[in-house]
């Protein structure tokens, strides 16, 4: 079995290599002297070729890839255009590599190394360990070991002042867009790779993937003549290349350097994005890079240059360093051996065969071959909308009385099949909008690391349920609130190591960030083992700020929720109050704009827990359909606390503030929905009606409606410009019978002024 597997893996790799070489051949047909057409695709394919496992490749193959890399770097680092010379070389290369591929499986004679090519710069891999008795061509053997990377000679010396770049928006618009999109992905994979490195610094796959990301970035930037980012990427690439070839062992200095470099590149990318959107178009972009380049060069020489005074990203005291120096150099060298070790090696055990990618790898970038399609999100949204309509139309057909009167078993079966297919289609379409929450979570790792370092705290962040999927629109908007809350946990929750030890806690604090599906929604929890919230101090602070009355009776959870009130915290309370405060009102507003809720639990001295409940998607809500007279309205189920038929005596009028309904001893203000909306109602007596208690933030309100008509998932539709001045309705939805239902804005209803019982009919107010 084992040999079979190995053979089939080898065969599939050979197949892939053949395919890629063919693609290079196709691209070569488009190459013109003095033009850059096809340069990037060829670069891409060569990168892919380099990625193929090389353990048992013939030496000629490895050497051939190296030489192609050298030429590509020459072009990318230079004019960015093909010269006649290079075209000739590449055409020869394509022919050469094709014949290597032909000879490879037969184990026949390898074609001779073309005499006009430079001799391979580095020693090629040892003889193939597989059955193929390929003989290495003569020319290969003489190379010196560990020659400096060919591209390092092109390293530009940064001038004293920071170089600036200018975008050629007119000519390169499309290319810049592509470059920008690609850069974002590359930067993300760099950042994630660095996080993996912090725990497993010797992970060859990860080092390689970061190396490649910088390399690709360099290629793209060089191609667009963006010299400053190109040079920076080049230096970092050189540095990582040394690490990759085990000539340098990785340490926290290098990791910080990579992060600083990635930050600078990100600034470039952001500036490019801004200009692409027409902000300051054409203005020079300056991002300080010379300092990082200087440090990278020093690090490449083996010197560790300390970062300038205010560290860009200081190494955190514990988490990183403890993991790093422990790595034995030998282990680091192992995965790289296959490529750079001059001595032929017998096939090492499983470890070096590169077939099972480490689990960390998957977190980094996923399998590039897994087949993804980039898609305009507007198209996706409209697809989801249309499918939503299809489902509604389908249920209209099924519910049509004339259709229902058809007596035919076959027809019923067909209808059922139609329902099943539309249901499946809807689920699939919805799932296309779903993305794992991982992206939003992993940013927090970086945040915690930086924050902890700057405050000399030791904090570890544990992530759970990163694979939980939710609507991409929600994931995008979740970033800000998460940052606020995590920041608060580190700033105010986790104590200093000394304080923690004194209390018998481990010196390192733990923040747990988890996501899970629950009750048709998503629950996100942020738990820390810090000092928790102090109800007495929060109460005192709220009193001082005039947010509560001195005689207010508040239970603990009501006190905790005070921190969400705007005006609860100002800058000076941040350090002095044990509770959290900064921007918590913003957090709640953001969560509520996503139609979510947030709750707090806390045990003094043991930590706090924030729970965020979110809907799975913004396009569909679970709604309660209520009837008021002839009208039907939708109330988002997430806002409903309870609903019941009032008993006589439950409703009373309080002079000056309208009616209240008393629910289990609590007085909840009541709003007669029909009267409030200026619409006729059926029930003349509250006892014949239903009260739906809705909440928004801390406030609750009972809505008096005629009847409950049922729960329904509805696709939310905007009401458009005509109704933009009203805030009574949050939107509309097409109901099962094809008519339109209006979705009530619970927030507005809860805050609406109380009604006096005497007021006869509410006068409809006109739009402003």
């Amino acid at each position: 079995m084992g040999t079979d597997d190995k053979e089939s893996a080898a065969a599939s790799r050979l197949h892939k290599a053949t395919e890629l070489i063919c693609k290079v051949g196709e691209e070569l047909a488009f190459v013109m002297p003095g033009e850059d057409a096809s340069l990037l695709p060829i670069n891409r394919f060569v990168l892919d070729l380099e990625d193929l496992p090389a353990t048992d490749a013939p030496a000629t193959w490895t050497a051939g890839l190296k030489i192609a890399r050298t030429w590509l770097d020459e072009i990318l680092d230079g004019s960015g255009k093909f010269s006649e010379h290079h075209i000739r070389l590449f055409n020869g290369w394509h022919a050469y590599m094709s014949s290597v591929l032909d000879a490879w499986p037969e184990g026949g004679n390898m074609p001779a190394w073309p005499p006009d090519w430079p001799k391979p710069a580095a020693p090629v891999a040892g003889k193939p360990v597989a059955a193929t008795p390929a003989t290495a061509p003569v020319a290969v053997v003489s190379a010196t070991p560990s020659a400096p990377p060919a591209s390092s000679t092109a390293a530009p010396a940064p001038a004293g002042n920071e170089p600036s770049i200018r975008l050629n928006l007119e000519e390169d618009l499309d290319l810049l867009r592509e470059f920008h999109a690609e850069s974002l992905e590359l930067l993300q994979s760099i950042e994630q790779g660095v996080l993996v490195l912090e725990s497993t610094p010797t992970d060859a796959e990860t080092i390689n993937s970061i190396f490649r990301a910088f390399h690709t970035f360099k290629g793209g930037a060089g191609f667009l003549h963006l010299d400053a980012p190109r040079n920076l990427a080049h230096e970092l690439e050189t540095l990582l290349d040394l690490v990759r070839r085990s000539e340098l062992s990785i340490n926290s200095g290098i990791i910080n350097l990579i992060l600083a470099g990635a930050d600078a590149l990100e600034q470039f990318t952001e500036a490019i994005a801004a200009q692409l959107q027409g902000v300051d178009a054409g203005a020079p972009i300056v991002v300080p890079t010379s300092e990082i380049i200087r440090r990278a060069k020093a690090a490449a020489r083996g010197e560790f240059a300390p970062p300038p005074a205010p560290a860009i990203a200081a190494p955190p005291p514990a988490t990183v360093s403890q993991a790093l120096p422990a790595a034995p150099a030998a282990e680091l060298a192992k995965p790289a051996q296959a490529v750079s070790e001059p001595v032929p090696q017998p096939a090492p055990p499983v470890k070096a065969t590169a077939s099972p990618p480490a689990p960390a790898r998957e977190a980094v970038g996923g399998d590039p071959a897994a087949g993804f399609v980039k898609l305009d999100t507007a198209k996706l949204d409209s697809l989801v909308d249309l499918v939503g309509e299809l489902v509604v139309a389908q249920s209209m057909v099924v519910q049509n009385p004339e259709v229902q009167s058809i007596v035919s078993l076959q027809f019923v079966r067909q209808l059922r099949q139609l329902s099943r297919i539309t249901g499946d289609l809807q689920r699939t379409a919805m799932s296309m909008r779903m993305v794992p929450i991982r992206g939003a979570f992993q940013k927090m790792t970086r945040l915690v690391r930086d924050l902890a370092a700057s405050q000399q705290k030791q904090v570890q962040l544990l992530l759970e349920g990163e694979e939980t999927e939710l609507d991409r629109n929600i994931v995008e908007k979740l970033g800000d609130p998460l940052i606020h809350m995590i920041r608060n946990s580190v700033d105010h929750g986790i104590e200093s190591p000394a304080e923690r030890t004194a209390q018998g806690k481990p010196a390192q604090g733990t923040i747990r960030l988890s996501a899970a599906h629950q009750r048709g929604g998503i629950v996100i929890r942020i738990t820390d083992d810090g000092k928790g919230l102090n109800p007495d101090r929060i109460r005192a602070k709220a009193l001082e700020r005039g947010l509560i009355r001195p005689d207010a009776q508040l239970d603990e959870s009501e006190i905790f929720s005070l921190i969400f009130l705007p005006g609860f915290s100002t800058a000076e309370t941040v350090t002095d109050l044990s509770g959290r405060g900064v921007g918590m009102d913003v957090v709640r507003r953001n969560i509520e704009s996503l139609r979510g809720k947030i709750e707090i639990q806390s045990v003094p001295g043991q930590g706090a827990k924030f729970t965020i409940l979110l809907p799975l998607t913004l396009a569909i809500i679970d709604g309660m359909l209520v009837g008021v007279g002839e009208d039907r309205y939708i109330i988002p189920t997430l806002s409903i606390r309870e609903s019941f038929r009032p008993q006589p005596g439950m409703i009373s009028t309080i002079q000056g503030s309208g009616e209240v309904v008393s629910v289990r001893g609590r007085q909840t203000p009541l709003l007669r929905l029909g009267r409030h909306l200026g619409r006729p109602t059926k029930a003349s007596n509250p006892e014949d009606a239903i009260i739906v208690v809705v909440e928004s933030g801390d406030a609750a309100r009972g809505l008096l409606v005629d009847e409950l008509l049922g729960k329904q998932e509805v696709v939310i539709k905007s009401l458009g410009q005509t109704f933009q001045h009203q805030n009574l309705l949050a939107g509309s939805a097409v109901l099962g019978d094809g008519s339109v239902g209006l979705i009530l804005d619970v927030d507005t209803l809860v805050k609406a002024p109380g009604q006096q019982k005497v007021s006869a009919t509410a006068t409809p107010t006109s739009v402003p």
């Binding site: 909308d385 249309l386 309509e389 509604v392 009208d631 909306l677 200026g678 619409r679 539709k717 905007s718 009401l719 458009g720 410009q721 005509t722 109704f723 009203q726 009574l728 309705l729 509309s732 097409v734 094809g738 008519s739 339109v740 239902g741 209006l742 409809p764 107010t765 006109s766 739009v767 402003p768």
Partner: protein, 169 residues
Amino acid sequence: MTSSPPNANSSLAKAGRYLTFSLGAESFGLPVLNVREIIRLCPITPVPRMPEYIKGVINLRGTVIPVLDLRAKFQMPVAAYGERACIIVVQLRNPAGGSTLIGAIVDTVEEVVQLGETHIEATPDFGGSPGTQFILGLATLNGGVKTLLDIEKIFLEDGPIVISQTLKN
């Protein structure tokens, strides 16, 4: 088009195709270019706390669009909708780009007519009376006078407008 150069004071209607319809005894026309489709009167979901002329919203094959009552908008006497009442779905260009669909309830839709420049006269000036800015011009056709409406201006204007007075000759 060969229309005369734009006049600063009056927006002269252009020759072209118009959809004509009636409200009560009066007859109107609007540029066919603005008309997306004509649908039969269907159940309208009323939107609370809206001016009387906004009847509510309907589902136009998945898009929720507002429906206006043109009689109410023009402050004409209210009458029950007859058998032949229709909703004309009008497409309006947004100043900010894109377009909006709005339905307008009319008593009857008459026909689509081709109006040449000879048929169209500029809006008579009734001594600065309100409403003239909503009128593209007057067309005389088969002995009757049709008021050609500037539908975009009408729908962009919040609140009811006075238009029928301008026609009392």
